[in-house]
Each structure stands twice: as C-alpha cells, then as structure tokens.
C-alpha cells in the first residue's frame, strides 16, 4: 500500500509497506515506512517522500542564499540566513583582497548579499562564500521572505514557474534556497512581483498553479494599462 499522491499526513502515518521506497521526510521501522513530518505524501519513481508544510531552512552545501550581515568579528562577517544557524563569511571568501580593518567599508551591518554555502560541518557551522561571478552585495531591488518549504514550488518543474514570472513581470528574480527572494525591475513591476510571490507561497500545494498565476499576471497587466 502506498499513499495516494498529495495525501496529507501527520508524523507517524504509514506511507509505504516497502522499506526500499523510503524518501525524504520519512523513516523506516520494522520494515515499514512512516512520515516524520506534517505534510503532503508524494510518490515519485523510486519511492515516497513527505513534503513539509512548514519548517526552517537548514543550510546545505551548494545552496545559494540571500543573507543579511548581522555582525563583523575579527576576520568574519556573521550572516543571517533565515535559519537556526548563522553563516560565517570569512574575509578570504570576499572576491577582492581586503584588509581586516576595511571590512565594514565593503559589507556593513545590514547589507544584503547573495552568497553560496561553501561548507557545513557536523556541528552545523556554516561557511559562506562570495567567490563566484554571480554572487555579491545586493545594491538595487527588493527582497521578500517566504517559507523555505515553498521554494521548490516557486521555481517549478525545470524552472517553469520562475521563468514564466521573469518573462511576464519583466524583472530580474533570484530565489534563494533559504526562502528569501530578490527582485529587480521598475517599481510597478516589483510591486506586482512581490504580490505574486506571496500568492504562490499561499497556494503552493494546489494544482494547476503555474497556469493560474500566468492568467492572473496577464489580467493584472491588462488592468493597469
């Protein structure tokens, strides 16, 4: 017995009789698979997993995130990445060679940055880096925060949702894995972008969302011209 796709489950609910099928958000006990989370059971080719309806962002190597500088200590910037764990950006991970005393000249407390998670150790010490062409301080645009569990829906299968948004909204949009999203465009487009992103967050679990949002945007744009 496998759970029907998109069934809501609570921790401890049986999701599969086959221990080989245990995916994310599940655990195996006595040869059966149970849910660890309050969420939607989703079956895919090799198994069943549970998509959480809520949860905190846990940094993982390779994630690109949007962070805010909380503090500067010795040769590290302490970065808030909307997680129970703070990120450390070492001075050597800044793309330019700078001195310890000049740190606040480049990134002050409160600055927003787009960074990549370089390493996470077993005690959850998180190291960030800016050493990549596309990373760096956010100078323009706006940042909105949504629940990190909704990020996959905002991106869509193969980027379907996010690419549609970029085209329809005529904005530069970047989605951080930690639930923070940066948009850049003219004021009106950014207003609409933020509004749309919050709608997607609210309805992430419903079907046919990409098409509905596409329709919504077309109507909004017609309404304002």
């Amino acid at each position: 017995m496998d759970r029907m796709d998109r069934d809501v489950v609570v921790p401890g609910d049986l999701v599969s009789d086959d221990p080989q099928k245990a995916g994310e958000g599940t655990y195996v006990k006595d040869g059966k698979v149970y849910s660890l989370l309050y969420g939607l059971a989703s079956s895919y080719k090799d198994g069943v997993r549970v998509i959480p309806l809520a949860g905190k962002y846990v940094p993982s190597v390779g994630d690109t995130v949007i962070g805010v500088v909380d503090d500067i200590v010795f040769s590290n910037w302490i970065i808030n990445v909307n997680s129970p764990y703070g990120g450390l950006l070492h001075i050597s991970e800044y793309p330019k060679k700078i001195d310890m005393n000049e740190m606040s000249k480049y990134l002050r407390i409160g600055s927003s940055i787009m960074a990549k998670v370089k390493d996470v150790d077993s005690t959850m010490k998180v190291e960030l880096t800016l050493n990549d062409r596309r990373l760096g301080m956010l100078k323009r645009g706006r940042v909105v925060e949504i629940s990190p569990t909704r990020v996959p829906r905002l991106i869509g299968k193969g980027g379907s949702m996010i690419n549609m948004l970029k085209t329809e909204l005529n904005c530069n949009i970047f989605v951080g894995q930690n639930g923070r999203i940066w948009v850049d465009g003219n004021d009106r487009d950014m207003d609409l972008a933020l509004k749309t992103i919050l709608i997607i967050e609210k309805e992430a679990h419903t079907t046919g969302l990409t098409d509905r949002i596409s329709e919504f945007l077309k109507t909004e744009k017609v309404a304002r011209s």
């Binding site: 921790p11 401890g12 309050y38 905190k56 764990y85 005690t123 509004k195 609210k202 679990h205 509905r212």
Partner: protein, 234 residues
C-alpha cells in the same frame, strides 16, 4: 471523556501553535524552533535541546493564582517535556533549541494532559520532525468508580488521578499516579486511559488533516482588491 475542540495555527508569530479545549480546560500551546540557544552554555553540539514551559494564567482558576512558576509548574513542565522529547528527532538540528510554551487560560483538572496534546499538535504545525504525535488522557477513581478524564470535582474529592501520555502505537511516554489504586483498579484505569488517548489521537490527527483540506480549496488572495482578483478567476 470530555468534549474536545482543537484549532491549529492560531498564533501568527509562532512557528507552530494550537488552541485546545478539553471540557472546561482551555489551553494555548506555542512552539518556536528549532532556533539558536541562548544562553549558549545550554547548547548540545550533537542535537537540539527541548524546553517546555507550562504556566497557568492568574485568571485560569477561581482563586487567583499568583503569577510566576511554582513547584507544580516546574514539575508539570518537566514531565511534559519528557513526554514529548522521545519522539522528536533532535539529532536533525544540532546546537539549537525547540521551545514549547503552554499557557493555561482556564483550568478544570487534567491541564497537563491538555497541554501535552496541544503541544503535540503545535510541534507538528511547526514542521518539527517526529516519529509520531503524542496523545494524553487521564483516568482516576472517584466515589469508588474508575473514571476517564476526571474534572475538577472528581479530581479534588476523588481517590486517585492518573495522567497518561503515549504514542498511537501504545508506547507510553508519561505515566503518573496520585492516590490509591489496587493493582486491579490500576490495570482497569490504565486500559481506560489508553483508550482515551486513542480517541484523542484521532481528534488531533483530524484537526491537522482538516486544516490542510481547507487550504486546498485555495481562497485566492489574502490581500487588497479581493473583488478584482475574484473576477480575474471567473
């Protein structure tokens, strides 16, 4: 068992929350976490710690309760925490804390069981990974009879009170007893309480799954211009 009412997600700021009524008991539970531990010396490098604060509001009882933790609150906090911690996958979140708060707004005996039930739902609402929910119910002896879920008069004038908390599989995480039972009476009370816990579990589960199906209907937009949006989708 007294009638139960559960509402999930009642506090906007908390990561997870639950309002619950069991008879005349009214409690609200809030979960924050996993989040950074302050003071730092309490943190555990390998797992999350679980903190539980049970508190009774001054107005929750007929004779005003002096505000602040007392010996009983400390005891209830500790046993409640111990009833939930075994099912929480703390190893998933080293160096962090899961904070659970239970405020009793109106008390009528059995508040610790209601608190644990509400906290269990709030933990699920917060997305905390658990092996299962925990359900709690008390049994007691009043006027010589074994009763389920005693209310205030039954508890105050009765001969015994026994709160129980367990997983839906029957694994017990809390068992306390206050009073006198013969061995047979104890067995009877235990079976009755276990049955009560199963009933509570069904209600907890339904409250959580129903909330999702309400969301599923997809009311479109929560903000300005609801009329405009509704027309857009007709």
């Amino acid at each position: 068992m007294r009638p139960i009412k559960i509402e999930v997600g009642v506090l906007a700021r908390a990561d997870g929350s639950c309002y619950m009524e069991m008879g005349n008991n009214k409690v609200i539970a809030a979960v924050y976490g996993p989040r950074e531990v302050h003071p730092r010396h309490l943190q555990d490098v390998t797992r999350a710690i679980v903190r539980f604060r049970y508190n009774m509001a001054s107005f929750s009882v007929e004779d005003r309760k002096r505000p602040g933790p007392d010996r009983r609150s400390h005891e209830v906090s500790k046993v409640s925490r111990d009833s939930l911690a075994p099912v929480i996958l703390t190893s998933y979140f080293p160096r962090s804390v899961v904070d659970i708060f239970v405020e009793v707004l109106q008390a009528d005996a059995g508040t610790r069981t209601v608190g644990i039930n509400a906290a269990s739902v709030a933990l699920a609402d917060a997305g905390i990974p658990m092996t299962s929910l925990i359900s709690a119910c008390a049994a007691g002896k009043a006027g010589g009879h074994i009763v389920l879920d005693p209310m205030k008069q039954e508890d105050n004038f009765g001969e015994a009170d026994m709160p129980l908390a367990m997983t839906p599989n029957g694994e017990i995480t809390l068992l306390q007893m206050d009073g006198d039972f013969t061995v047979d009476e104890f067995q009877e009370a235990l079976e009755l309480a276990k049955d009560g816990c199963q009933q509570v579990y069904e209600i907890q589960r339904k409250a959580l799954t129903d909330r999702y199906s309400q969301m599923k209907e997809g009311d479109l937009c929560g903000d300005a211009n609801p009329v405009e949006e509704a027309q857009a989708y007709e």
